[in-house]
């Protein structure tokens, strides 16, 4: 293990102008590389130096989490694949395998505070374990590759890898064993349970094996759902503006502006109902199909909007705005199937074939009624 660098003030550190100089460079720094803030030092192993990382979260981790949770730089939130360590890992320390999505790695190390363990990060192209396993990026070949590339057999004396249970969709345990000699032990679904799992001598009880989808787990997904929308919103606004201006005098900019704002309110009502209300109240909403759940939240949003617009709109316009809100809410609620851990692709496809004609029809009917109302008024 390399000794920690100790800073000693010298005469050169005297203040000459402004603030005193920053401390000298750490001896762990290398030209052309950035020393990550969560690496405390490097442990020497038979397979070379291994970065030892912190298990507590600082500003960096919270800032990164807020960023990826709101969809900012989510595709670039990666860390380098390879071997890491926490605590003082030795030859008998367990090896935990993880994805190279920054949030996955940060969450894992936060959850194993106090443990001496190795973390083998495989290259999932910055995608979390569950989604990467579905795409075979958290896959058999990649686990085998990293075990060999890091010369893990030189670092640890045992032959066990602990993989997150959600990785089983992409990793065939017996192939890993055959190719590397390492036995795959399926760990718990949630990183929170890993310490308990290791204390229980690698035994996961039923609760650790089952996925959960609590209200909080659903709410944190909403900002990313919304982050996909700016572009479609712009197109929707252009269409709404053009259709809103059609009147007996061919096109009126003043009317187009005033009426398109009403359409946009209906649109945002649908977005809020489908992408925020539906996920939040998911188990309470009637129906199994998400598109049906979205209709209920869409009707609730419509009721609120029409209350606000009462007196300024024709009956025809109210119907048109309601159709738009409900159609968008139903579609976006259906889209949330992609973020849940319990919807089957066969089910989603069946639902889409049934629901999408109605959603498109609702939107089209809304547009036709809206233009018609513009001409007759």
């Amino acid at each position: 293990m390399l000794p920690m660098h100790t800073d000693q003030s010298t005469a050169d550190d005297e203040v000459c102008c402004g603030s005193p100089p920053a401390p000298p460079s750490s001896r762990n720094e290398r030209p052309g590389y950035v020393l990550l803030p969560f690496v405390t030092h490097f442990a020497n192993t038979a397979a070379g130096p291994v970065p030892i990382v912190k298990t507590n979260w600082g500003r960096n981790e919270w800032a990164d989490t807020i960023k990826v949770r709101t969809g900012i730089g989510r595709d670039e939130a990666k860390i380098a694949p390879g071997l890491y360590g926490v605590g003082k890992p030795e030859a008998e320390a367990p090896v935990l395998v993880s994805a190279n999505y920054k949030l996955s790695f940060d969450t894992l190390r936060k959850c194993i505070d106090g443990l001496d363990a190795w973390i083998l990060v495989i290259d999932t192209r910055g995608i979390n374990v569950w989604c990467a396993a579905g795409k075979q990026l958290f896959g058999t070949a990649e686990v085998i590759r990293l075990v060999k590339a890091t010369r893990l057999d030189k670092v640890v004396a045992h032959r066990r890898l602990i993989l997150p249970q959600f990785g089983a969709t992409g990793v065939a345990a017996r192939t890993v064993k055959k190719e590397t000699g390492f036995e795959v032990i399926w760990g718990p679904v949630r990183a929170d349970d890993i310490k308990m799992f290791i204390e229980n001598k690698f035994h996961a009880d039923n609760d650790m094996r089952r996925v959960t989808f609590s209200t909080l787990e659903r709410i944190v997904l909403i900002p990313v759902e919304l982050s996909f929308l700016p572009k479609p919103t712009l197109w929707f606004f252009i269409a709404a503006f053009l259709l809103s201006g059609i009147s007996t005098e061919i096109f009126s900019f003043g009317t187009a502006w005033a009426r398109s704002l009403m359409v946009m309110s209906a649109y945002f009502g649908g977005v809020f109902a489908g992408a925020a209300l539906s996920p939040t109240f998911l188990p309470l909403l009637p129906g199994r199909a998400f598109s049906i759940k979205g209709i209920f939240t869409g009707i609730a949003a419509t009721a609120l909007l029409l209350f606000l617009f009462d007196g300024t709109t024709l009956f025809l316009e109210k119907i048109a705005l309601g159709a738009v809100t409900v159609a968008i809410s139903s579609y976006l609620a259906m889209n949330f199937t992609g973020s849940t851990p319990f919807t089957s692709p066969s089910g989603v496809e069946k639902e889409m074939r049934l629901a999408m004609p109605f959603q498109a029809g609702g939107l089209l009917a809304g547009a036709v009624l809206w233009v018609w109302a513009g001409i007759v008024s």
């Binding site: 989604c131 579905g134 188990p283 919807t343 639902e351």
Partner: protein, 98 residues
């Protein structure tokens, strides 16, 4: 997860008990408790809880389980539809999916 139920009778999951050796791997990897081990054989006890993730089939040593795995995600399915009907449609990333 019992309060979260998706569409019934759609899953492609199948278990061939003749081939099953009762190793218990499917019970281990399934996140929805679809299987139990019963007199040294796996048994499906909650077929409609299956989300077709494919973990059981991939880890079954005797290929006793079959399922068409996939991503249960609307935008991904739209992408595959577009690709099927529009030859050469680019594989652009669009939102919603993991």
């Amino acid at each position: 997860m019992k309060q979260f139920r998706y569409l019934k009778n759609v899953t492609t999951l199948k278990l061939n008990p003749e081939v099953c050796i009762g190793c218990g791997m499917c019970t281990n990897v399934c996140p929805h408790g679809v299987f139990i081990q019963n007199s040294r054989k796996a048994k499906i006890v909650d077929l409609n809880g299956c989300m077709e993730c494919g973990a059981c089939a991939l880890n079954c040593p005797t290929a006793a389980i079959s399922v068409t795995p996939g991503v249960g995600c609307a935008s991904y399915i739209i992408q595959t539809w577009v690709k099927a009907y529009v030859p050469g449609a680019n594989n652009s990333k669009s939102g919603g999916c993991c």
